[in-house]
Symmetry: C2
Subunit: 426 residues, 2 copies
């Protein structure tokens, strides 16, 4: 695959410096200018459809020739429908309120001056991602609307597609009177260049890696600047002794089967031992009917066998695995405390649910489980920026600092204090 060869540190430092300079002007950019860019981009993408799809075919051909899997090729593929979805996403972000300038807190000091805590952009946000080219547009528009400059470092599989998309974005920025340095694509995808980028904490304020666990871990371990991670989702559903049987079935099946390939789908079913011979077989039967393979510990497996439901033996590592597939690990517990301990030990802090009719038990679970989203009698599938009312989502943070759970425009901002007085001294 042909690629520009310039991965020199100097070129990357210059790119990062331009991003930093752009971020300073973006910080005070009026909302109208940001929306003008978004509107220009929504117009330009359909106009450039042929060029974008041609570049994408080039990436797809190279990917097929180099033996990319069908799943990877599907992620890489742009279609008319996917381009239309991008345009629709741009219109949605344009309609969202600009978060910058919101006064978060305000107080008056005893000496008479005011102290305001005001939302401001983070500055320069780096997005490190893999094969999905839609990330190029999604991240650029969310970062721009929140006043941030973006450095995009996509995967080599999507290089030609990303290059054309970035050109379209930068042309739309210029048409809206905004410096094109607000959105820059790193012109090389090699690991050496990435390693240089990870050290440029003088210019880049935050990294958001999006992709497989290997990439995210590499970024987290090597970056000098803060990283907001979106690790795997090992989500748990706990069926308590006091669970309503029909609700237990509905929530479990929805959490596992409605879309098994996403991070808020359930991977572990934690079941109170009192339900082994009653609720569990009914739930398991429906899961099996929907093609789910069960991997259970001994008590659950024995109960299922007695009920005539097939289940394999769970290995320890099954409880730590994000299958993203029609596989569910089943764990038996003696009560809510053991369930909480299991979830905190094996879950990934993403989304966990309890089904119970008992408020005290539910409160223990809601308080004790250390996760971004904890559900009582609701499916884990709702952890999502749109469902949570954020209007859009740049990802779901499994970190606990700065942002946790779905990240929207507000989570792409920082704040500063502005202090206004008439000569006060200390």
């Amino acid at each position: 695959m042909s690629q520009p060869s310039d991965s020199s540190g100097a070129a990357l430092v210059e790119l990062a410096k331009r991003a930093r300079a752009a971020s300073l002007s973006l910080a005070t950019l009026p909302e109208a200018a940001k929306n003008a860019f978004l509107d220009r981009l929504a117009e330009a993408l359909p106009q450039k459809r042929e060029a974008i799809l041609a570049a994408n075919r080039r990436d797809l051909d190279a990917g097929a020739a180099s033996g990319l899997s069908g799943a990877l090729l599907d992620r890489l593929r742009l279609t008319d429908a996917r381009l239309d979805a991008m345009v629709e996403g741009i219109r949605q972000v344009s309609a969202l309120p600009d978060p910058v300038g919101t006064v978060l807190e305000e107080r008056t000091h005893a000496k008479g001056f005011s102290i305001r805590k005001v939302r401001v952009p983070i500055g320069v946000v780096g997005i490190i991602y893999e094969s999905r080219p839609n990330v190029t547009v999604d991240c650029a528009i969310l970062c721009l609307k929140s006043g941030n400059a973006t450095i995009l470092r996509g995967g080599k599989e999507a290089f030609h597609t990303n290059t054309v998309l970035a050109d379209v974005i930068r042309a739309a920025l210029e048409k809206a009177g905004i410096t094109p340095d607000a959105v820059q694509l790193v012109p090389t995808t090699d690991r050496a260049a990435l390693n240089i980028l990870l050290k440029l904490d003088d210019y880049i304020h935050c990294l958001i890696p999006r992709g497989g666990e290997g990439l995210i871990r590499f970024v987290a371990e090597n970056a000098r600047m803060p990283v907001i991670k979106h690790y795997k989702g090992v989500c748990n559903v706990y069926l308590d002794a006091a669970a309503d049987p029909a609700m237990a079935l509905a929530v479990t099946v929805n959490a596992k089967c409605q879309r098994p390939s996403v991070c808020n789908a359930a991977e572990n079913l934690v079941v109170h031992r009192a339900l082994l011979d009653t609720v569990l077989p009914a739930v398991a039967r429906e899961l099996r009917a929907q093609g789910v393979e069960l991997r259970a510990d001994e008590p659950a497996r024995a109960a299922l066998a007695a009920a005539g439901v097939e289940a394999a033996a769970a290995a320890d590592e099954d409880y730590d695995t994000e299958y993203l597939d029609r596989i569910l690990a089943v764990k038996t517990v003696a009560g809510v405390d053991e369930a909480i301990a299991f979830v905190n030990a094996h879950g990934s802090g993403h989304s966990d649910a309890i089904v119970t009719a008992d408020r005290t038990t539910a409160d223990s679970f809601l308080g004790g489980v250390d996760a971004a989203a904890v559900y009582w009698n609701v499916s884990t599938r709702f952890t999502d920026g749109f469902e949570f009312g954020l209007g859009a989502e740049i990802g779901i943070s499994t970190d606990k600092l700065h942002a946790r759970g779905p990240m929207g425009l507000n989570e792409l901002t920082s704040y500063k204090f502005t202090i206004v007085g008439d000569g006060q001294i200390r």
Copy 2:
């Protein structure tokens, strides 16, 4: 200096695991239990005064023998007055409201379930610090009140003092019925152990380094978990063409001289060229009278010379230096845009002030300067947790993610979403 020799990775991993386990129980600890600990500690510190001061003398003797500077020995020294200040600090934190459990946002989903964003502790917070033993108590109490487990890694100079203080803290935890693993001192101060600690991101959620720039940079560059940095404070005061002369003098002198050794003291004076022959000499004369050495660029130096005020020639690096002393670098600019560019290039994003009677100019400065605290007609010396109404302060963040500026109890928390419904599925 005698030190425990166990810096093995296994022992540190066990320590971190105990902190993580403790953090899970702290997350749901009632405020009364936290305050019971604080009250026990406020009683115990005076009772253990002799043992604490004896351990401190041991550290001071060893420090003097190994040639520590007078300034370092002063930071290390505990006195009756400093112990009393610690106790007063504990009483203040006890009186602050518990941040955990506060509902930050709440909404109802179209399907009828509620989504609440609730403040929760971060989890395990590591404090990496140098010679001031008061950090041991200050950080432990703020972290405990906000529901976090703390791992304290102090400097070798204060090792005996810190060991006794940690023992007193842990005894007070036990008296209050809280696991003593909530506060643990790393029993060794070597760099190898620190390096191991920095990799334990499975158990430690956040690091706050407090100390010199070298230590902070080492932690930021080598840690796998998020780090909230408290870098240097290179604070700027800009005197605009429309500055009131008396206010210009008062704010500049206060920002520089009231306490030159702290991070919110001014290091650079940026002056509009229209003031070179009028306001600047008057300000400079008062600064000189208060023993401040001036280092000025050519235009300012010439104007000062004409007015008979002594000033050295500023070198480029003077504008990037945190003197923490009676030295002030003076820079001439042609207007507010150049002032903003100078502050963004040379300041450390801590605290910067403009003095002007012109609202438009002030708004440009307040919006354009990228710093934690930006002041209009107020001295930079107010950047402080108590002054900003946070009640207490664990430090002042020069980072832009999670927390910026003074960090109090709220800044030691994360949040989670709790979702409550009656069987909703997607």
